[in-house]
């Protein structure tokens, strides 16, 4: 677990602005360092199926290792048998004997082998699948809604005490309890997938699909859209963090509309930025207390997020301004229009204000 956190920090350092500005100084150097890092730490990245952090994912990894072992044995055996036929000494056989040998091979390898393997596989597989069903529980699990947009994530907490909480590109969930994710797509088909927690489910416009996932303990996970969804499919990342229950409740409380409104409006120094926001941004973006639009990502708690642009760059000082200036270069084709018509000072003030939105 700690290992993957280390990985995450490294990624964020690598995905920062500095990297973007002084890129490819020494490709080979980075590569060697990475290779060394890989071998030394054994870090498998925070999206690795092989590093499960929940029961569903753990079951699947278990199945995988068993299947890999079994498959390797079958492959090696078949190959060895085939190759051995080229080296074998000739044996004289009568046609009856030949038929018997042939039948043994065909029935043994062609029928018994696959049927036995399939049955073994299902014995493992079916109960695993059963456990992933969203069967009714005596204690109904918390519901979190995730909506895929081209190319960002809308996350809603309809069950939050005091009213629904909305955020974007970050998914905070309580650890140690099953969560039902209700997912859908706003435009095209996307897929919701937190590899370390379990399987994926498509986000289809017009339907609500459900998947139940559970994180063993507090940790940070990577997630990424898995269904090809257009130009920036590769840059549709989601930051997922499991926290203790009370921390989760507190996080939700901090994001109630009232709390967020005062956060957005109380600092007098940001008044020009707020005006610029209302002029240029409010028709698409929501900042609680100022606007309610939902075409683009919600920005009400932007400053507290770990990354920008659905994972394109890490959140750090000046990052929002940089993003506002160069977003079409950083993430070509994203749906936000270029801001060439807005002067740099305004963008900087907007950036500073948005960065201050930290509940």
């Amino acid at each position: 677990m700690r290992l993957s956190l280390q990985c995450l920090t490294r990624i964020q350092r690598l995905t920062s602005i500095q990297r973007l500005t002084q890129q490819r100084v020494n490709r080979l150097g980075i590569l060697l360092a990475l290779l060394a890092g890989l071998l030394l730490t054994g870090c498998a990245g925070d999206k690795s199926i092989l590093d499960p952090a929940g029961q569903a994912a753990r079951d699947v990894v278990m199945i995988w290792w068993v299947m890999l072992g079994f498959g390797t044995v079958v492959l090696v055996m078949v190959t060895v048998f085939w190759l051995s036929t080229f080296k074998r000494k000739e044996v004289a056989r009568t046609p009856v004997e030949e038929r018997r040998v042939a039948r043994r091979w065909i029935v043994g390898g062609g029928i018994i082998l696959p049927v036995a393997s399939i049955i073994a596989l299902l014995t493992f597989g079916v109960p695993t699948g059963q456990r992933m069903l969203t069967l009714p529980l005596s204690d109904p699990p918390e519901v979190i809604e995730v909506i895929g947009h081209q190319w960002w994530w809308e996350v809603r907490y309809p069950g939050a005490e005091g009213g629904e909480v909305v955020t974007a590109n970050q998914l905070i969930m309580p650890a140690g309890e099953p969560i039902d994710f209700h997912v859908t797509g706003a435009d095209v088909i996307h897929a919701f997938w937190v590899p370390r927690l379990g399987g994926k489910i498509d986000m289809v416009p017009g339907r609500i699909n459900k998947i139940r996932l559970e994180a063993d303990e507090p940790a940070v996970f990577g997630a990424q859209c898995a269904e090809f969804c257009g130009a920036q499919h590769a840059q549709m990342q989601l930051y997922v963090e499991a926290v203790e229950r009370d921390e989760y409740d507190a996080w939700l409380t901090d994001r109630q509309t009232d709390e967020l409104s005062s956060l957005a409006t109380n600092e007098q120094q940001h008044e020009p930025a707020r005006e610029a926001f209302m002029t240029h941004c409010a028709s698409c973006h929501r900042v609680a207390g100022l606007s309610t639009a939902g075409e683009g990502p919600d920005l009400s708690d932007l400053g507290s997020r770990t990354s920008l642009g659905a994972g394109i760059m890490a959140m750090e000082e000046g990052a929002v301004t940089h993003w506002l200036q160069h977003h079409q270069r950083l993430k070509p084709g994203n749906k936000m229009p270029p801001h060439d018509d807005i002067d740099t000072a305004t963008l900087a003030s907007l950036g500073a204000w948005l960065e201050s939105l930290t509940p």
Partner: protein, 118 residues
Amino acid sequence: MTIVMQRLHLTHPLHFVIGLTLWSAWFVTVYGGHAVACEVMPPDPEQGVFTLVNALLLMVSLAAVALLAALTVGCYRMSKHHAGRLSFNARVSAGLYLFSTFGVLFAAMPIIGIPPCL
């Protein structure tokens, strides 16, 4: 009619495809019927696997198994009555019917284990 029956004699290679066509028909019925049932009268998830939907699907499957098994036996017997081409046809048909029988049985197994509409 008699011509049709003669043509459809169990040694006719048309039986190569009848078994698996029945398998496909069964498959489409069960898959389609299941989808429609879940749309029209989804049972309460609390019921688990003991629902009308599962029962109906199971009955259709058992009927298909019975039919295919009968045809398997028929073709197998016929293969012993003939030699050469006709025996070959009946033998391969028997094998294909047998496979279809097990195909239905095997693909129907989840019906007894998985609640229908989740």
